[in-house]
Amino acid sequence: MNINATIIGQLIAFVVFVIFCMKFVWPPIMAAIEARQATIADGLAASDRAAKDLELAQEKATTQLKEAKVQAASIVDAAKKLEAKIVEEAAGKAQAEKERILASGHTEIETERNRAKEELRQQVAVLAVVGAEKILERSIDAAVHSDILDKLVAEL
């Protein structure tokens, strides 16, 4: 246990080492650590923000989905109504067409019948005249007795 010049050497080494550490070791390491801390803090903040954004986006998506559902339902409703209306209209039109066709058919039939009746009457008149001629065995002047014939025809 003796104090000697070693103390001077050690003191010089101590001073040099501390100065070297202060100038060339501590600042770069500390700078790297602090830069990384800043990066991590930024990253955490960004992830927080992203989580919030995600939450907002999910909320937005949910409301939009609801709106879309409501809208779709209303569109379907409207479509159904339109469909019913179109069907109804078509049915009405068909009914009217049917009636029109029926009516025209009836009219035609009526006309035809009347025409046939008329023809029959004519032929009956002729037959009647012929029959009468045969019965009377004489010629009846068609022009003179036309009034009687007409009356007969009208009675048929």
Partner: protein, 265 residues
């Protein structure tokens, strides 16, 4: 150790221990240099600075390598210790604390080197007789080394006391407390001077005492013959506590003393 037993069979235990506690010295009187302590101290300081400087040069704020992680753990540990105690702004204290902690840790770790390993290697390399080889490889078991460290810290205590409080303020602090009355100023001065001087003295003697005692016990164990191996193991395991603790205490007290020097009463 067994080699020691062979070559130093003629030595008594006392002579063996004395031999191992003698430094490799050149020079006369005060102007003698303990080449082993100083050499190992400088070498270990260079090891510390080389490793830390290589990391500092390549330090990336991105994903760090394993060595950078280890170095950053040490740096952050020291930084936290400094920030927890010292609240001023001072670019010196944290690197100073880092240097002290790692350097003293490395120097203390020389205590784990088997006491006869280095002399044996030297005798193998040079062919010298082990009785002529003086090698005390634990620098912190050399009072010159610990006094130099504590002396550097003491100088900084004085420097910052004067820088922060001025010469007048520093002197006033020395005589005006703990007792406020003027008649007790001489008593105050005596007490404060003792307090001031006790700091570096306690700092250096605590470190020296612990490591010197540790080395001495290792040497005593080395004289036990065959039974020394388990005992060596136990004592070395115990140094897992002593070595980092002494480095930490030295660093912590340095920070505390310097933060006291910055406080204005």
């Amino acid at each position: 150790m067994s080699a020691a037993a062979a070559t130093q069979a003629t030595l008594t235990s006392q002579e063996y221990i004395k031999h191992h506690l003698t430094n490799l010295t050149v020079g006369e009187g005060f102007w003698s240099w303990n080449l082993d302590s100083l050499g190992w101290a400088v070498f270990l300081g260079l090891v510390f600075l080389t490793i830390f400087r290589s990391v500092a040069k390549k330090a990336t704020p991105g994903v760090p390598g394993k060595l950078q992680c280890a170095v950053e753990m040490v740096v952050e540990f020291v930084d936290d210790s400094v920030k927890g105690t010292f609240h001023g702004k001072n670019a010196l204290i944290a690197p100073l604390a880092l240097t002290i902690f790692v350097w003293i840790l490395l120097m203390n770790m020389m205590d784990w080197v088997p006491v006869d390993l280095l002399p044996w290697l030297i005798s193998l390399a040079t062919g010298m007789d082990m009785a002529d080889i003086y090698m005390k490889p634990v620098p912190t078991a050399d009072p010159s080394i610990t006094f130099a460290l504590a002396g550097g810290v003491f100088f900084l205590i004085i420097y910052y006391s004067i820088k922060v409080k001025g010469v007048g303020g520093f002197m006033k602090e020395l005589y005006s407390q703990p007792f406020g009355h003027w008649s007790l100023y001489p008593v105050n001065f005596l007490l404060e001077i003792v307090t001031l001087l006790a700091r570096p003295l306690a700092l250096s003697l605590r470190l020296f005492g612990n490591l010197y005692a540790g080395e001495l016990i290792f040497l005593l164990i080395a004289t036990l013959g065959l039974y020394q191996l388990p005992v060596h193991f136990i004592w070395a395991a115990f140094h897992l506590l002593v070595i980092p603790l002494q480095a930490f205490i030295f660093m912590m007290l340095t920070i505390v003393y310097l933060s006291l020097a910055h406080e204005d009463h």
